[in-house]
């Protein structure tokens, strides 16, 4: 398990974080630029020494400012995937991956590097140099290189940000699979909450150097503790399977029951996402008003005031969050336990391949 605590000054921001990540768990650290996300990674890796802090992985203490312990990065065994991948331009792909394998005999190094590249489907590009690889290929080489280290902690800095939209989907899928398989703790940094929700087991939202809320993605979306978190968490994300429908719309069968329609095209496993403020809540029993096509029955779990808006955490086949005015809450007598129907338009439903 990773336990990290750090307090230091970054420019005008004061960084003050404390977090724990279980082995095999991936914590997504999400927040806007300048919030200090990358600095947390650098502290964990030993590239940034905080004014005060402690970093320990299992029984190994890597940093303890009180006791004067500061293990240098080269001795920590942190697999760090940098934002621009930081592949060594003068080395081929397999040599990049073999770089951390200094202790092994020569023949074995190449074999292990090829094995890793093969796992990511890059065996054919083993001799290519980074300049000739595509963005997605570079990302996979960087990941393979980090894993070659057999690290005790995995750090990922915006691993999908440099990829174009098309590559991002498949890359997210692969990354999620890798994270599921690795038995060590992982921290993933992103400015995109959807990405955090997709790849992280838990999400910690960081703003101006402080973690403002931690929890599962749906918890954060349902019960944001601040307007910042509310705005940041954005969409509700539902898992389901899509198939083209008769009238040009795509039908998505949701896991746990229920069906929604979307104007996006899609087939197979997908994420269906919709923004909380596009969801209308009406008391159960009444037929849905308007031309909204999607409706899901749910029970109100939480009612959270965020400024002059109210976030409703709804328990349906999957967790939902809706955002309504305070007036609506009053008018419809929305309290925990109330049974409601959540509706939204097919045009407001976005599909992202799963």
């Amino acid at each position: 398990m990773l336990s990290l605590a750090a307090r230091t000054t970054l420019g005008d921001t004061e960084l003050d974080v404390e977090l724990e990540v279980e082995p095999g768990e991936c914590l997504a650290l999400a927040g806007p630029s300048g919030a200090g996300k990358t600095s947390v990674l650098r502290v964990a890796a030993g590239l940034l020494r905080p004014r005060a802090g402690r970093v320990a992985v299992g029984a190994r203490v890597w940093l303890d400012t009180e006791r004067g312990v500061d293990v240098p990065p080269e001795e920590r065994r942190c697999g760090y995937v940098f934002q621009d991948y930081a592949l060594f331009p003068h080395l081929s792909a397999w040599r990049n991956v073999a770089y951390p394998l200094r202790r092994l005999p020569r023949a074995e190094r190449r074999w292990r590097a090829l094995e890793l590249l093969d796992r990511f489907g890059l065996a054919a590009r083993a001799d290519a140099h980074p300049a000739t690889l595509s963005g997605g290929e570079r990302q996979r080489v960087a990941l393979a290189r980090a894993l070659a280290l057999e690290p005790q902690l995995i750090l990922l800095d915006e691993p999908l940000a440099a990829l174009d939209a098309r590559t991002r989907a498949s890359a997210a899928r692969e990354l999620a699979a890798v994270l599921r398989e690795t038995p060590v703790p992982a921290i993933l940094v992103t400015h995109d909450f959807t990405e955090a929700a997709q790849l992280g087991d838990r999400v910690a939202v960081i703003d101006r150097g402080r973690i403002v809320q931690q929890g599962s993605p749906s918890e954060l979306a349902a019960a944001p503790r601040s307007a910042f978190v509310a705005d940041f968490t954005g969409a509700v994300v539902l898992a389901g399977t899509a198939r083209p429908g008769p009238d040009g719309l795509t039908r998505v069968e949701l896991e746990g029951g229920g069906e929604v329609a979307s104007t996006d095209a899609g087939e197979g496993p997908v994420w269906a996402s919709v923004y909380p403020w596009e969801i209308t809540v009406e008391p159960a029993g009444e037929k849905p008003h308007g031309s909204a096509l999607n409706w899901v029955e749910a029970e109100v779990l939480t009612v959270t005031e965020v400024g002059n808006r109210v976030r409703l955490g709804l328990a349906g086949p999957q967790p939902l969050a809706a955002e309504v005015t305070a007036g609506s809450v009053e008018r419809l007598r929305l309290r925990p336990g109330a049974r409601v129907v959540a509706t939204w338009k097919a045009t407001a439903t976005r599909l992202v391949p799963h």
């Binding site: 650098r42 890796a45 030993g46 590239l47 240098p72 990065p73 080269e74 001795e75 920590r76 065994r77 942190c78 697999g79 760090y80 940098f82 934002q83 621009d84 991948y85 930081a86 592949l87 060594f88 331009p89 003068h90 770089y99 951390p100 200094r102 140099h129 980074p130 300049a131 000739t132 570079r138 290189r145 980090a146 280290l149």
Partner: protein, 268 residues
Amino acid sequence: MSSRRAFALALGVCAGLVVLFLALPVVAIFVDSSPGALLESLGEEGALDALWLSLRCTAIAIAIVLVAGTPAAYLIATRSFRGRAAVITAIELPLVLPPAVAGIALLASLGPSGILGGAIESAGIRLSLATAGVVVALVFVSAPFYVRQAIAAFGAVDRTLLDASRTLGVSEARSFARVMIPAAAPGLAAGTALALGRALGEFGATLMFAGSFQGITQTVPLAIYDRFATDFDSALALSAVLVAVSAAILLAVKLLVRGEPLGGWGTR
């Protein structure tokens, strides 16, 4: 003629003039005398001595510049410290010094009457009128060419490469050799080529500081100067050889660097 075409023509004329001006003297060296006469003059003992001395001293001087200059350039490029700008200016200053001034500077500092002259003499080191003096003069005039390029080259290397290397288990010292130097290689090679050219051609400072004696201190440029008034063919032959050697070095350096497909990725 449209103004665009007129502009293109003017550019072409300027470029043509520049190329002609630079190429003509070099071509003239090879054309002004017969190849037979050139080879004959080369066989003469003094000429070969001068060539061998020039190559030896330049090689030693460049080796010193590389070994001492590379880590120094790395430090200056990657760390900020008080007086950094002053240090960079001090390194660049010899670049703009005329060779005669460089000679005076060396005499005033390391010459027998210079500031450190006494200390050098007591240490038993002979610089004046000795081969070591030639090497010292060459290092002084050529080092700035290399160090300046090396600072720029290291400065342009993406710093996260160093971070990546460290997280992958390689200490900073070893990362310097395994990652930073290869990543900066094109700039380092360019700096080496410039320094080589400058060292091979050095004349004024060497003459003033180390003198001119066959086999000991008379490098090729000095040998050329010694001969041109009385034996122009010999001077031509030596000049042709120097041009050929310099061109070969330049080509070798370019090829060495071309062989590494470095592109721009990861070194933004």
